[in-house]
């Protein structure tokens, strides 16, 4: 009992933070829909759910997400194998490069695809701009990395001997894959697929830039309903629908991800030399890599074109406010704001995330304690799946009165971004902290180390690198965050993704060129951070 009390006391801080900054806004947003004229009126919500457009939006979300998930898995598996089991030249760089799209700001990805598929783009004649195909392509581009990472890490730590035993029993490489390897990887594959589905179903920036009003998903529909139609009831109804589905998926993902014993030694199988038989896998990986490079290249090339000529004009214009005064502030100051915001969001996410990871990974001594820990674990994963739009709008309508009047606080945007980054930090740190055998701490204590000293000598040496990696990951995610920020950023101090979106919304060739240039700047910033993270060689980064 005392242990549980201590645990709850320790958890009180993060729970309070998440309660105020997450549960309160989200429930506030949801309540908006259920309460009409001061009375509880769920009927209106039900009416919304019966609308044909809502059905269409829901189906569209499920279909695009399903197809995108399937494609991500199919394209990601060969790459996961090639990049984690074969000694390919430059594979560390390729692995880092593959993770970049995942943290690439969604707006940038949207811009890159429009540049590629739009009128005058290299693939313009295909007429895919603004079609569901473009949306699915964008989602796959964004999420292949998650599959490569999650499955790759599992593949890397897969014991090769059962496969060899099967080969010695007469199984051909294909039969080994089908009967031994894939069953062993199933938890990782299904886990990755469910997370990818989640990301697709709640994707915002990509769908908004590529689909516009015509092809809306639940997430963009919530945005459109709140910002342009002002139909809060409908928005709330969709939010509730989304939260329920997401919760279900999160529970499923957690179940599929469960490992029997986290302290079991994680073996890493050394990569082997490439053989002739690996050709199909290597070719498939190169194709995926190439397909991922095309939009990025298109973006970079596009940003270097000014009025049909090559030049750096778009970049020079970043210090200006654009055509027709499209912006209040030049792009360069938005970049400064973005960096400042990301620093704040990072320390917040790291502080709370480390505490959460430490709480959920300590070994439980009773069933009740384990229940409390796993409930907390699930609770802190919530921001992973709840729509950033819901969160952002919830912030606006609930945190506007004393004592929680945060609307004008410079920390409002960082707080929202920290919440979005929190699950990434927790996911990176929990396997590391969970992997420390509790007996190591007990051994340290029995040798006379105080709890503080134990933390310093047992936990910290193992955890400092993953913590650094988690910071980088959170920083990159925060740099690109768009969904919540689009609601919360003040007009006079927008972040870079918000500015890019504004530039896209204003007509004028120069504004479009500036949007491309700003996208490149943002992409480079995130890519540099991710490459630095990759140098730390922490296996769990980007794996779910």
């Amino acid at each position: 009992m005392r242990r549980i009390l201590g645990l709850l006391l320790l958890a009180a801080g993060p729970v309070l933070v998440l309660g105020v900054l997450f549960v309160l806004p989200v429930t506030g947003m949801v309540a908006e829909g259920f309460v009409a004229d001061g009375r509880f009126a769920p009927g209106a919500v039900m009416d919304v759910l019966a609308r044909p457009r809502v059905h269409r939006v829901a189906w569209f979300t499920v279909c695009t997400s399903g197809v995108a998930t399937l494609l991500s898995v199919v394209l990601g598996l060969p790459a996961a194998y090639a990049l984690h089991r074969l000694r390919l030249p430059g594979r560390a760089t390729v692995r880092a490069a593959m993770l970049v799209p995942f943290v690439l700001p969604t707006v940038v990805v949207g811009v890159a695809f429009r540049q590629l598929l739009g009128e005058g783009g290299p693939l313009g004649p295909l007429g895919l701009d603004g079609t569901p195909v473009a949306i699915v392509a964008g989602l796959v581009f964004f999420n292949v990395a998650v599959v490569v990472r999650t499955v790759g890490v599992a593949w890397e730590s897969l014991d090769p001997r059962p496969g060899q035993a099967a080969a010695a029993l007469g199984a051909s490489p294909w039969q080994v894959l089908r009967t031994v390897t894939l069953p062993a990887l199933r938890p990782a594959i299904v886990g990755a697929a469910s997370i990818v589905f989640l990301f697709c179903a709640t994707a915002f920036g990509i769908v908004l830039t590529l689909g516009g009003v015509r092809h809306a998903t639940v997430e963009t529909e919530i945005y459109l309903l709140t910002t342009t139609v002002f139909d809060l009831q409908a928005a709330a109804a969709l939010s509730v629908l989304q939260i329920i589905v997401v919760l279900g998926l999160l529970v499923l993902a957690a179940r599929l991800r469960a490992v029997p014993d986290p302290t079991a030694q994680r073996t890493v199988t050394p990569a082997r030399a490439v053989r002739r038989g690996d050709a199909p896998v290597v070719v498939a990986t190169l194709l995926v890599l190439g397909a991922m490079l095309v939009p990025v290249l298109g973006l970079v090339l596009g940003s270097l074109r000014v009025g049909g000529e090559w030049g750096l004009g778009n970049y020079r214009a970043l210090t200006s406010a654009g055509d027709d005064q499209a912006l209040v502030e030049p792009v360069t100051s938005a970049l400064a704001t973005s960096l400042r915001t990301a620093v704040d969001a990072t320390w917040m996410a790291l502080l709370v995330g480390t505490l959460v990871a430490a709480i959920v990974t300590r070994r439980s001594h009773s069933l009740a304690e384990r229940r409390v820990r796993s409930t907390l674990d699930g609770f802190f994963m919530l921001p992973l799946g709840v729509s950033a739009v819901t969160l952002g709008f919830g912030f606006l309508i609930t945190l506007d009165q004393p004592p929680l009047d945060l609307r004008d606080s410079p920390l409002l945007v960082p707080m929202a971004q920290a919440l979005v980054a929190l699950p990434l930090v927790v996911r990176t740190l929990t396997p590391v902290l969970g992997g420390i055998d509790d007996r190591q701490r007990q051994a340290a204590a029995s040798l006379g180390a105080s709890p503080w000293r134990t933390l310093l000598t047992v936990d910290l040496p193992v955890a400092w690198k993953p913590m650094l990696a988690a910071s980088g990951f959170a920083f990159a995610a925060s740099l690109g965050e768009f969904g919540a920020t689009s609601f919360l950023a003040r007009d006079d101090s927008p972040t870079l993704p918000v500015v890019i979106f504004r530039l896209l919304g204003h007509p004028g060739a120069m504004n479009y060129g500036m949007a491309l240039a700003a996208s490149v700047v943002l992409a480079v910033a995130t890519a540099v951070v991710m490459l630095a993270v990759e140098r730390l060689r922490v296996p769990g980064v980007g794996a779910f």
């Binding site: 014991d159 001997r161 059962p162 060899q164 035993a165 099967a166 080969a167 010695a168 029993l169 007469g170 199984a171 051909s172 490489p173 039969q175 080994v176 009967t179 031994v180 069953p183 062993a184």
Partner: protein
């Protein structure tokens, strides 16, 4: 002659894990490769299985070179140290794995699985998952799985070393019986000479990547090629030069550079030719084990029949049991 290794070398970078090894194995025989951990014996086994590429030499079966044959087409079943059962399949599905690969009709599969499970003494275990089995049971399932398609050669990697002592002894007897019954040709690697003696009829001693001695198991055991081999085969002490000469003279044998003694090579006997002083005495269930200081030989092990009353400080006479020693012909390489 079936399996033949000719000057096989396997390199990892600059180090040769297996260095110029040649071995033969005839049908129906069990050959044990015995060596300390890290001597390259597991690499040798994996090379035979086709899991390690050769740097030089060739491995052939019935005269046909295997270098172009991938593991799954060699027909050699490999049994790992810890069984490596497929955790997601039941015992019956594990055993049936190779049969199903060959699209054997399911009635035949069922019959064969039953037959094999009874061979390894695990009737009724069909639906159990590997996670619920004990170490010994898992090894038996692994053996049944390896035997299912009657492989032309079975490769065993320390098949018993993961087990505790009593279980090891019992399973060793079973395993030998099963290999004999099935008439299987087997290549086994181990660091435990007891395991080798329990299972094999031929022995190859391996050290630092090279085979230093090979032959019928009793031959190797009686005539270890050098000091290190003798110690590895379970000889307690090796005496050199004068000390060796004295003991060999007392045994009535020709003098040699060195002699390896088992712990029971010297026996307390009132008529024995050697004089010694008892330093330690310890009673065991079969005999009294002594450490004695023999005149001009030094401290060596000796035994006395149960009931002999000896205690440290006593003077005793010893005779030499010639069946418990080995004369070493050549000087160990330094």
């Amino acid at each position: 002659m079936t399996l033949a290794l000719d000057h096989v070398t396997v390199r990892y970078g600059d180090t040769a894990a297996v260095d110029d090894v040649s071995l033969d194995l005839a049908t129906g025989q069990v050959l044990a490769v015995l060596g300390p951990s890290g001597c390259g014996k597991s690499t040798l086994l994996r090379a035979v299985a086709g899991l390690e590429p050769l740097s030089a030499g060739r491995i052939s079966w019935d005269g046909a070179d295997l270098s172009g044959t991938p593991t799954h087409k060699r027909g050699f079943a490999l049994m790992f140290q810890d069984g490596q059962l497929f955790a997601h399949l039941t015992v019956a599905r594990n055993v049936a794995y190779a049969l199903r690969l060959r699209r054997t009709p399911s009635a035949r599969v069922d019959a064969r699985v039953r037959e094999l499970l009874s061979l390894v003494g695990l009737e009724g275990y069909d639906d159990r998952l590997p996670g619920t089995l004990s170490g010994g049971e898992r090894q038996r399932v692994a053996l049944a799985r390896a035997l299912a398609v009657e492989p032309r050669l079975i490769l065993l990697d320390e098949p018993l070393s993961a087990l505790d002592a009593t279980l090891r002894e019992r399973l060793a007897g079973d395993l030998r019986g099963i290999l004999r019954t099935a008439g299987t040709t087997a290549l086994l690697v181990t660091h435990d000479h007891e395991e080798a003696f329990a299972l094999a009829d031929r022995l190859a001693v391996m050290r630092a990547g090279r085979v230093v001695q090979g032959g019928a198991i009793d031959e190797v055991w009686r005539e270890p090629v050098d000091e290190e081999t003798a110690l590895f085969l379970g000889y307690a002490r090796v005496l050199r030069d004068d000390a060796a000469a004295r003991v060999l003279a007392a045994a009535g044998l020709r003098s040699s550079y060195a002699v390896a003694l088992r712990r029971s090579a010297l026996v307390v006997d009132a008529d024995g030719p050697l004089r010694a002083r008892v330093e330690q005495a310890r009673v065991t269930p079969e005999q009294v084990r002594l450490v004695v200081d023999v005149d001009r030989v030094g401290a060596v092990d000796a035994v006395a029949p149960l009931g002999t009353r000896v205690s440290p400080g006593d003077e005793v006479s010893l005779r030499v049991d010639v069946t418990r020693l080995a004369v070493l012909p050549i000087r160990a390489t330094p």
